[in-house]
């Protein structure tokens, strides 16, 4: 019987990634690997991420040296059961390489965002995967856009369709400053779900998007099979208002970069591309007016205006809450004192962008939770 051999391939983070750089190998050939061990750091122009081993075994081959850039879908290493012969490993690599061109072409193929009309405007979204299981819908936070899920959407889409959307006033969605409260944004998203004919879905929301997702679940509990709230608004009053203000007012790259580092436990993960992404989004016509209007509505007087806690605890669908313990935007204490039926996961060494900083862990939490419900 042939030995177990696993190929490690460069994953695709987000829409536009075509190549990844192996920035650092954490292990040597011959090392024992457990599932979830940190294997390599992969950098793209968008983001740097630790790639954790999807399998247990022995690291047999490091095929790409540090500093080398290779296309997504490329084989960069091989893990196997300890008893696999070298000849078997070589045969595996040869077989992979002979079929590699087609693999790369498929995985590099065009996934790009689309726009759908809703009454009163339009919503931009990116759909990945098309399993018939109830879809997942991912809702980003204030000042962000659907690219915020670049480390998560692919994982969620392995078992179903995953939609990442741009909230009104954000990214490529409608710029209407009259859609400013959590309730108004929830209404717009309900229209999006209607336009895409989604009648049953799992909602995942981060920060302001968590509040919007919660509001949808409250308004239309029948639509929502499960609700994952990540560092969400709506569970308490406190919010880092100087951060919100800075996000609106700052237009210099360096100042914006300093501000955005507040989002992370480890600012080293932070890329220049994220800074430019935020600045570029603000420079779309109408975006600034919308951001100001949303901030004035949702965070009037420097605190959260819409607390949904009492309604949330009565909801029928399963709910989980994920928070980074070093969150400097919304305090992780907001996850305290929730009923036992709501599962709370506090992740160490993670800030407000816990779904980026601890992508593998958060992806697992989301996938297991959705699969169980």
């Amino acid at each position: 019987m042939p030995s177990e051999i696993y190929g490690l391939v460069i994953p695709k983070y987000g829409m536009v990634m075509t190549e990844g750089v192996i920035a650092k190998w954490h292990l040597d050939e011959g090392d024992i690997v457990n599932e979830g061990d940190e294997l390599v750091d992969i950098e793209t122009e968008k983001v740097a991420n630790v790639y954790e081993s999807p399998h247990a075994g022995v690291l047999r081959r490091k095929l790409v040296p540090e500093g080398r850039s290779v296309p997504i879908g490329s084989l960069f290493g091989v893990i196997s059961a300890p008893n696999a012969e070298d000849a078997e490993i070589d045969a595996y690599i040869n077989a992979f390489e002979s079929s590699a061109s087609s693999v790369t072409a498929t995985s590099a193929g065009g996934t790009s965002a689309a726009v759908v009309d809703i009454p009163g405007g339009y919503i931009r979204f990116l759909k990945l995967g098309d399993d018939p299981a109830p879809a997942a819908v991912l809702v980003h936070g204030f000042g962000a856009d659907l690219n915020n899920w670049l480390l998560n959407q692919g994982s969620v889409a392995e078992s179903r369709s995953a939609y990442a959307i741009d909230l009104p006033g954000h990214g490529g969605s409608m710029k209407n400053p009259k859609i400013a409260t959590i309730d108004e944004m929830a209404t717009a998203l309900l229209r999006f779900l209607d336009a895409k004919n989604l009648q049953s879905m799992h909602l995942v929301g981060h920060s302001l998007g968590g509040g919007v997702a919660a509001r949808i679940a409250i308004e239309k509990p029948g639509l929502v099979k499960s609700l994952t709230l990540i560092a969400a608004v709506g569970l308490g009053r406190e919010i880092n208002f100087p951060f919100i203000k800075g996000l609106i007012e700052i237009d210099r790259r360096k100042d914006m970069r300093n501000l955005l580092e507040t989002l992370f436990h480890d600012p080293a993960l932070f890329s220049r591309d994220m800074t430019m992404g935020v600045l570029n989004a603000k420079r779309i016509d109408g975006a600034m007016t919308c951001l100001k209007s949303i901030a004035e509505s949702c965070f009037a007087g420097g605190e959260q205006t819409r607390v949904l806690r009492s309604e949330l605890v009565q909801l029928p669908m399963p709910i989980q809450v994920i928070w980074g313990q070093s969150d400097r935007i919304i305090p992780p204490e907001h996850a305290a004192n929730l009923p036992k039926s709501i599962r709370v996961h506090l992740l160490e060494k993670a800030g407000h962008m816990v779904h980026m900083e601890k992508a593998a862990e958060v992806n697992k939490l989301i996938s297991h939770f959705i699969a169980a419900n």
Binding site: K254, I284, D285
Partner: protein
């Protein structure tokens, strides 16, 4: 002036006339530099009725009944605009550059917001009075009472075998003149955002489009957006060397930086995007980190933007420098017609790599 064969135009441009005001465009996310420029013009013309465009053959070619709107300028950028905006706002002009630029400047100082097209930057000589002694001085000489919100789009650069009178890169000459802004987009994203910012700017802007970039594709948001004039783009971050590159030279520098990365040399690539105003701070901060500078520019080297950046760093970041500043530019001669000589004339990734390696070695020795 010799005529060129009509270049291929992108089909995405012809969709202009189908867009309703305020409606989002529904097109693919990646579009060409040419299409990005056309989209910027169309969206701005929808927003602001004082915007008019003028130039040679930008509508449909002079006196060509039945063939209107087939040309869209020498490079197809304005194709589709005549159908949507009509001849009052899309004006074919006589073959007389001094008149095009003069009329645009006059209109700009009297309430319109014209975008004029100068087919090649080589023809700038005949409109130099307008660009040297008139438009850039109005605000200054009339005590701030007059602004001249004109954008002059022009094509520059070598590499497509059109010889000395259609291939030069004269952005440094315009950068020399106070009161003009000079813009050099290197990507479709920058082309759209910078052109919209240029049109909305209340001062005269010279907008340099590289002849070799029109078919380059990239992601461009559908909605109108701006990029501030005077903000450099740090295209790539590295630790050993700062490469400052303009226009088409940015892609060549990225190619060189990627190759150098595999040799263990890590480069920052900065695209200033505008030569005037110049984002000095971003360049100086980067050189403070890396200690080494290579400037890459397609223009001739004497009294150029390359020497200007070298002087800036020598004057303000001398203490940070660990090696001599290197420049990779065209030589001090005209663009040759012989293909092999034209290729030799232009900067390329190999020349950039050689320049970088020369100062990294020097510093490590």
């Amino acid at each position: 002036m010799p005529t060129l064969d009509q270049p291929k135009t992108s089909s995405t441009i012809s969709s202009h006339s189908m867009q309703k005001e305020g409606a989002p465009l529904r097109r693919k996310a990646r579009i060409s530099y040419r299409a990005a420029l056309g989209e910027a013009l169309a969206q701005e013309m929808r927003r602001d009725p004082t915007i008019v465009i003028m130039g040679e053959d930008i509508a449909g070619g002079m006196g060509a009944p039945g063939q209107q709107d087939t040309w869209g300028g020498a490079f197809g950028v304005t194709k589709g605009l005549l159908g949507e905006f009509g001849r009052d706002r899309v004006m074919d002009t006589p073959l007389q550059e001094s008149a095009i630029i003069g009329a645009a400047i006059g209109a700009a100082s009297n309430g319109l917001r014209p975008v004029a097209e100068l087919m090649f930057n080589n023809f700038i000589g005949v409109c130099m009075d307008q660009l040297l002694n008139q438009a850039p001085k109005f605000r200054y000489m009339f005590g701030g009472k007059l602004s001249t919100p004109v954008t002059i789009r022009t094509v520059y650069g070598a590499g497509i075998r059109v010889a000395a009178q259609h291939s030069s890169a004269y952005h440094s000459i315009l950068t020399h003149i106070p009161g003009l802004k000079v813009v050099m987009p290197s990507s479709p994203f920058d082309a759209k955002g910078l052109l919209i910012a240029s049109i909305r700017d209340d001062d005269p802007v010279i907008f340099f489009e590289h002849i070799g970039l029109f078919d380059k594709e990239g992601e461009v948001p559908e909605e109108p957006y701006t990029i501030p004039l005077g903000e450099a783009n740090v295209v790539r971050e590295g630790t050993d060397v700062t490469i400052v590159a303009f226009g088409r030279m940015v892609d060549l520098s990225i190619a060189a930086a990627n190759s150098l990365q595999t040799q263990g040399i890590s480069c920052t690539v900065i695209d200033p995007r505008t030569t005037s105003p110049l984002d000095e701070e971003t360049i100086l901060e980067s050189v403070a980190d890396t200690g080494r500078l290579v400037v890459v520019d397609e223009g001739n080297p004497r009294c150029s933007i390359a020497t200007d950046i070298a002087a800036l760093v020598a004057a303000k970041a001398f203490d940070a420098l660990r090696a001599p500043v290197q420049m990779v530019t065209a030589p001090h001669c005209h663009v040759p017609f012989a293909p092999v000589l034209e290729d030799a004339y232009l900067p390329n990734p190999e020349k950039i790599e050689t320049a970088v390696r020369s100062i990294v070695r020097a510093a490590r020795a």
